[in-house]
Amino acid sequence: MDDKQIYAKLAEVFADVFDDEAIEVKPELSAKDVDGWDSLSHIRLILTVERAFNVKFSTSEIGKLQNVGDLATLIKMRTS
């Protein structure tokens, strides 16, 4: 999967989880930029990403994520 495909799919996931089609999903996007992205919806986001890309992340991988760029890198690693 290339970056473009990953970001396109991530955009769908973000719209689904945060119920907001307007979120611009880019590498530097992080929790402080999105209304309602708290620790709980973060879990829901990760779970939805896992299902959408059919991957599983370890607890420490999830703990290290700082922004969408980190998440995309992790997905790319798993799906290539």
């Binding site: 119920d19 620790s39 709980l40 879990i43 779970l47 939805t48 607890t59």
Partner: protein, 642 residues
């Protein structure tokens, strides 16, 4: 994970336009309760449940009416993170006819909330308090092999739960809902964990037994989470990663299932569970079509895999009847034929005296279900309708949306389990009169009179997006044509059987007009569903030698479209009159009025056979909303009738 449970396969899949449904709900004025319920009646995942739950909450908080949904206030007390569960509960409750308000105090404040008179829970005046506790919440001491210590532990746990119950009872009028506890999959000894007192597994076994007894004795409601977790599998239920990260008490993928179980329990407390199981017959109660396969041909015997699957459906219906669920039949069939297996088939478990209302006719099922509800004096929402045919299920969902209609898988082996998994007959109590209820209805039920009105059938037909394809006989269709000619009994005007060479001869004879008809709709391709053979008679007359149709597509006005096609070719061939005959058999009463309905005039009658004529010029057979494709005649022609 087992998809039947994890994906709740008894519910229709979520439609693509789900987000639009939600937007509409926020935008429209007036009553949105039915819309909320309709949106909830899909297998929604956690994100979609969350969104629907929020929309319902917003509407309720804005003071909008959600009738006909019934209000219920539920306090949820838990030792774990239930923030994901709460909106899912609200959305799932709508599925079961409830508009749910959830009171959710701070995390892990179970005892404080219950025992303090002016706590958030106690002052909110809830209808019920759900103790959504898992085993980690319990004061449990592991003492392998020490029976006395194990007994003391169990007593301590039950004492704690009793204290919670007493707290609720003294500070509010709420009912208590207790859960059984799902043991973790890990064992210490192995199988011995179950046998040895004081291991976690054996303690949880003891605690579950005690909690069950305590709930029953004190009038509390029991939610069997241990049973649910065992059904889906403990290894799938418990997710250590999610517990460690976020204190989720069980796998996020099973939240929709859990929420549905809470919702159906609340619905049962409000008396909104199903009361009547309405059964389709062909390919539901038995394998095959009684009108075509006959008493000897239907599959309903031990020793036959398909027969046993249908027997299991019958057994489940009888078990439900024994606990007070009323049974009824709603089938597209000739009444006498439909009753035959009940009366004469030795392997049938269901007998006519088990059925309170028996509706076998050719009317549409939504209308028939209304008759059944009226006959039994119950609401439409008390009916659960089991039918193998997706078209019928969809029609009922559209025209009688209150009726509960489980989706069914392809293989009848899973019918009984799917019906049970849907939990349509959830009950929170069982009383002596439940045992008598089925009989009570039966004694009072007369056979419901048929209602001729068809509801909004036109709109329904249009929504099927049908394409009908006409073609003369040709080699690729021949085998199926021969099969239909030799198998069709019910929708068959003359029941003339022809061999393959005879069909081939008709195909090649330029004087004979032949028609094979296919029908496709949004549910897929029905394949070849009708066959017509017209032979030249006197000058300028076509004699309709054969006209048959598959009963699968009854009620779609296919026959009108077929006549329209015949007329068109007749005109082109210089034919001025069509002649038809109805030859009665044991099985084809269904088509006794076929020609009358199509505008033919009866010219004579002879030993039950009726002879009909239609003048081609000026004949108007009516039409149906479907796309028409004519192949191989004199070139391709297409049109649409709206």
């Amino acid at each position: 994970m087992n998809p039947l449970y994890a994906e709740m396969q008894w519910l229709p899949r979520t439609p693509r336009e789900f987000p639009a449904l939600l937007k509409e709900m926020s935008a429209v004025d007036g009553l949105i309760g039915s819309r909320a319920r309709a949106a909830a009646l899909h297998a929604l995942d956690l994100n979609k449940l969350t969104k629907l739950g929020r929309v319902i909450d917003e509407a309720r908080n804005a003071g909008r009416s959600l009738e006909p949904l019934v209000a219920f206030r539920l306090a949820v007390l838990s030792n774990s993170t239930i923030d994901f569960v709460v909106p899912a509960l609200v959305a799932s409750a709508a599925r079961h006819g409830i508009v749910l308000e959830v009171v959710q105090p701070s995390y892990d404040q179970v005892a404080q909330e219950v025992l303090t008179p002016d706590s958030k829970v106690n002052t909110s005046n809830p209808d019920a308090v759900l103790f959504a506790l898992d085993y980690r919440a319990l004061p449990v001491r592991i003492t392998p092999g020490d029976a006395d210590a194990a007994t003391a532990t169990t007593r301590g746990v039950v004492g704690y739960l009793e204290a919670l119950r007493n707290g609720v009872q003294s500070h509010s009028n709420a009912a208590c809902i207790f859960q059984t506890f799902a043991p973790p999959p890990e064992t210490v000894f192995g199988s011995l964990d179950r046998a040895l007192p004081g291991t976690l597994r054996s303690l949880i076994d003891d605690i579950n037994r005690e909690v069950t007894g305590m709930a029953r004795a004190s009038g509390a409601v029991l939610l069997d989470v241990a049973g649910l977790a065992a059904t889906v599998g403990l290894a799938d239920w418990h997710n250590s990663q999610l517990w460690n990260m976020a204190k989720l008490p069980f796998s996020d993928e099973l939240i929709p299932l859990y929420a549905d179980h809470v919702a159906r329990t609340i619905a049962a407390m409000r008396g909104k569970s199903g009361k009547v199981l309405v059964l389709d017959l062909d390919n539901t109660v038995w394998g095959g079509v009684i009108g075509d396969d006959g008493l000897e041909g239907i599959k309903v015997a031990q020793g036959d895999a398909r027969g046993e699957a249908h027997l299991e459906v019958q057994r489940m219906a009888l078990d439900l009847r024994q606990r007070g669920v009323v049974l009824a039949v709603c089938s597209k069939n000739t009444d006498e034929l439909a009753r035959e297996p009940f009366e004469k088939h030795p392997e049938m478990l269901l007998k006519l005296n088990h059925i309170a209302v028996f509706q076998a006719n050719w009317g549409d099922k939504a209308t028939n279900l209304r008759s059944i509800a009226a006959e039994l004096s119950v609401g439409l929402d008390s009916l659960v309708f089991l039918d193998d045919n997706p078209v019928e299920r969809d029609l009922v969902r559209q025209l009688a949306p209150e009726v509960k209609v489980p989706e069914l898988p392809e293989d009848p082996a899973w019918y009984a389990r799917t019906l049970a998994a849907g939990g349509y007959f959830e009950s929170v109590a069982f009383a002596g009169e439940d045992l008598k209820r089925a009989k009570y209805y039966q004694d009072n039920a007369r056979r419901a009179s048929l209602q001729k009105q068809v509801g909004d059938l036109d709109a329904y037909l249009a929504s099927l997006d049908m394409t009908i394809t006409f073609q003369p006989f040709e080699a690729t269709g021949r085998a199926r044509i021969v099969q239909l000619i030799n198998k069709s009994n019910q929708y068959n005007l003359t029941t003339r059987r022809y061999t393959e060479p005879e069909v081939s001869a008709a195909e090649q004879d330029p004087e004979v007009f032949t028609l094979q008809v296919r029908l496709a709709d949004i549910f897929g391709d029905n394949g070849m569903i009708s066959v017509v053979i017209c032979r030249p008679d006197k000058q300028g007359v076509w004699q309709i030698d054969t006209w048959l149709m598959s009963c699968r597509v009854l009620g779609r006005r296919v026959e009108h479209m077929v006549l329209r096609e015949i007329l068109e070719h007749a005109r082109a061939a210089g034919i001025h009159k069509l002649a038809g005959v109805y030859l009665p058999t044991e099985r084809n009463k269904l088509v006794v009025d076929h020609y009358a309905k199509l505008g033919f005039t009866k010219v004579r009658e002879e030993k039950g056979a009726t002879f009909w004529e239609l003048t081609v010029c000026g004949a108007d057979p009516g039409s149906a909303p479907m796309k028409v494709v004519s192949l191989d005649f004199a070139g391709l022609r297409q049109g649409t009738f709206a």
